[in-house]
Amino acid sequence: MFNLIEEKLDSEYFAYYICLYLSINSIKNKKELEIDVKTFTKQNDFEFLINIISLASSIEELNLTSSDIGMNLDNMNYLTNAFSINNSIKILDLSKNYLGVDEDKMFYLKEILLINQSIQDLDISYNELGQNEKNIIYLKEALLINNSIQNLDISFNHFCENENNMQYL
């Protein structure tokens, strides 16, 4: 797997786009991309990565499990932007990312699912979605429009925390 972290990220735009170009070229034939975002040291590392994903049209499977994405709202914003461009990813694993800790994260996921029609397999297990019924409402609103998702994993989400959660099913 190509290690994006080894690329020298520079705040200078020229260096940035050179890195972006090189990175896209290096993964242009890859179909699967698994990333441990926790190894990122700077916030713009994630933004950089997401820019690559948005332009890498060969990737069909993106695994971002256990990446603490939900700990920073900007991450979800970058992801939303990426999926407004990328239409190749069919399998998206966002499990174990604290998406349910507050409802804002699921709002962005709703936006992703409203825009994107390529994701067929979505794993959002282990995200504490049951903590707040708004999470489930956003998911419901997304799935009312989205008709590409065929496999949905919402296990391990403490739906029992709130008896209203299941009524949005």
Binding site: S125, G130, I136, L139, K140, L143, L144, N146, N147, S148, I149, Q150, N151, L152, D153, I154, S155, F156, N157, H158, F159, C160, E161, E163, N165, M166, Q167, Y168, L169
Partner: protein
């Protein structure tokens, strides 16, 4: 959410749904308007702790015609015999469920659980894959007696998984299995892993008879049964000397 009719596989496991009957009631309402879900996973939800949950699930499944694979692992279904009675009513009527996983459900708790399952399997002819693993069925030989009576009549079950049921502790379990397989012509895959078969020579003797006479089984899984090497060879030889040359593939590891 399920008004969306594109979702084919929904995993709702480990959500504590059984803690409040309204959860399963909402699920029932959702399933009554959904016709896309083919595979529903409800594992580890304590659904069997409250009979009303099973009644809601029954009402949903009696009307639903899309679900072909249902996984109910670890839901304490065996704790209340009425749970299996309701599930039995589903299996008597529903013609769409082909794959049912009832593993880890404490079915050993009362032999009536298997009685109700028997009554359903005698009528049902759509179920192809039945998983009854990890239910300690060997605790009472009535469990295997009821299963025998079901399998003598049932013609659809092709994959039967009976792993981790402690069947080896009582040779009657294997006698019933042999009698069942003498009449049953549909089972092609039989999983008997981790049943302590090797602790009793009579179990091995009966298994050899099965291997020499059965005409339909293709694969017999015998892993983790304390069967020593030379006995493994004897069982393989028994398969090779099958009366009608049905050489059953035996998996020891």
């Amino acid at each position: 959410m399920l008004i969306n009719n594109s979702i084919k596989h929904l995993n709702l496991s480990y959500n504590g749904l059984g803690e409040n009957e309204n959860n399963i009631s909402h699920l029932k309402e959702a399933l009554q308007t959904n016709y896309s879900i083919k595979f529903l996973q409800l594992n580890f939800n304590q659904i069997g702790n409250n009979e009303k949950n099973i009644i809601h699930l029954k009402e949903a499944l009696l009307l639903n015609s899309s679900i072909s694979k249902l996984s109910l692992i670890h839901n304490n279904l065996g704790l209340n015999i009425n749970n299996m009675l309701h599930l039995s009513e589903v299996l008597k009527t529903n013609k769409f469920i082909e794959n049912l996983n009832l593993g880890f459900n404490n079915l050993r708790e009362n032999a009536d659980n298997m009685f109700y399952l028997k009554e359903a399997l005698k009528i049902n002819n759509s179920l192809i894959n039945l998983n009854l693993s990890y239910n300690e069925l060997g605790k009472s030989d009535k469990n295997m007696l009821y299963l025998k009576e079901a399998l003598e009549i049932n013609k659809s079950i092709t994959y039967l998984l009976l792993g981790c049921n402690n069947l080896g502790k009582n040779e009657n379990n294997f006698l019933y299995l042999k009698e069942a397989l003498q009449k049953n012509n549909s089972i092609q895959y039989l999983d008997l892993k981790n049943n302590k078969i090797g602790i009793n020579q009579i179990n091995i003797f009966i298994l050899k008879e099965i291997l020499q006479t059965n005409i339909k089984i293709q694969v017999l899984k015998l892993t983790d049964n304390d069967i020593v090497d030379n006995v493994q060879k004897e069982l393989s030889q028994a398969s090779l000397s099958n009366d009608i040359y049905n050489q059953i593939k035996i998996e020891f590891a």
